[in-house]
Subunit: 313 residues, 2 copies
Amino acid sequence: MSGVQTTGAQGTGAQSTGTESTGTHAAVAQAAAPRPVAHPRLSLNQATIKYANLAEAIDATVNAGYESIGLWREPVQAAGLGRSIRLVEDSGLRVSSLCRGGFFTMEEGLARRESIDDNRRAIAEARALGAPALVLVAGGLPAGSRDLVGARSRVRDAIAELADDAAAAGVTLTIEPLHPMYASDRAVVSTLGQALDIAEEFPLGVVGAVVDTFHVWWDPRLLEQIARAGDRIASYQVCDWATPLPADVLLGRHYPGDGVIDFAGITAAVEAAGYRGDVEVEIFNQQIWDTPYATVAARTRDSFAEVVAPHLS
Amino acid sequence: MSGVQTTGAQGTGAQSTGTESTGTHAAVAQAAAPRPVAHPRLSLNQATIKYANLAEAIDATVNAGYESIGLWREPVQAAGLGRSIRLVEDSGLRVSSLCRGGFFTMEEGLARRESIDDNRRAIAEARALGAPALVLVAGGLPAGSRDLVGARSRVRDAIAELADDAAAAGVTLTIEPLHPMYASDRAVVSTLGQALDIAEEFPLGVVGAVVDTFHVWWDPRLLEQIARAGDRIASYQVCDWATPLPADVLLGRHYPGDGVIDFAGITAAVEAAGYRGDVEVEIFNQQIWDTPYATVAARTRDSFAEVVAPHLS
């Protein structure tokens, strides 16, 4: 399949072929353009339009021509799980993943039991929403701790506790390595290799890994680890890296093409590894969050068509 | 050798033994205390007191009881190389390293030739100052480039051009892997493993690597790579990591012990690898830069004595 998609923006170009009126006002031309079509594997991760409630997020996603959306638990819970399921079903969208579970680096005790229980609920929610993947963020070092090795082993142990539930639900526990700049306070799993070391202890389909370009683009071992991952890749997320980083380093993500990441090479490697699932664009960026949802959905679709889609099969 | 050192601050405790006057004013007690003694392998990297000129930096280092200092090219050049050599000789300090060369990821052309030539001058300066190691920062992606692999290969090629000069000068080209958050704009060499992949192409003593705790503490392969490094470790630098990162992520470094880094484990691994050289404390931190040099030198000495020195042989 060609990665080149007809989009709203591209549709306006049709006016020069004589199929449209000669009106030159872009808004008029766009309103008259055919409904935009996003790449069929493109999914809009809801965090990219963070301030939208679930109904608004689904509307923006459908109206921009997507077939898939990545959901977050908080807006799902705000809408209520039952209503969320109906909204998704009525939209016709696939749910590419549910974000997020995890955060289980703490020592044994009440907080750890609560985290495990909450992750069990997240597995059930993912199943109910039809999401094949529950994205897991490992969690950072416990307060006052310097024991990375211990924290990492507790991540593995938590996943071992959850594996049977995930298998029964048909939901893949999908470990997301986060950029090393988050290793102390957010995720002690920093590389795809680490995520795979854990995942490979469990059956294929039960535990997998996310490849998120923002988090792993710098890794000199990335391509070999993607090849190693093969069918363990349970989610592919794309957004770009640019410097300088903003004051809040969580928010330094950009539309694909607006930074330095080699989407051609990474996407080709993910394809070669056999991944054929949806590809999410997940961007944390205050300026993008402050932009109208429809604009963001369109811009995401178009940047994806330009720099990612050409490298998908 | 015991890592516990007599320091100025500890010396003031002697008053309770009756060997000092009963004056309780700390400054008076400190003035009367014996001259502080830093751990014999501790070196104050000049960047920790960034605003000091070379003479001031040397004074602060000597007065705080250090035997070694890590120099930067800019203040050396500001003082003049000849005068810098005399200042160092008169001080009795060792020079643990010269920071920094590198920045050679650009394509062939004038800028690359200028960079290579400047690195040749840096090798000569290191030799003249008696610094065994010239610290190299790789450089980031060239503007507009997304080719990490190409940039990395150009780092290797530049080092190949410089290796004979370094060997002749008796200066080790010491590659510093920088934290992956600097991969795009500062250093495409992000892990100790990468640095060693390059270093091992050249003779031992000619090309080595820095282990800087701030940059590599998060790496799940760190301990195995330190063991692999062995005598390739040409510099060991310590400072701590804490979050949140400041708005300028270059400045998020802290005194050893003020963050989450496991200095016990990393220092023991560096020792086990055979490193017996000076250990630099290099801190980029605006608040520390705004503190009087003598205070910073003393605080650095004492934090090192507490959390790093006990793990040195």
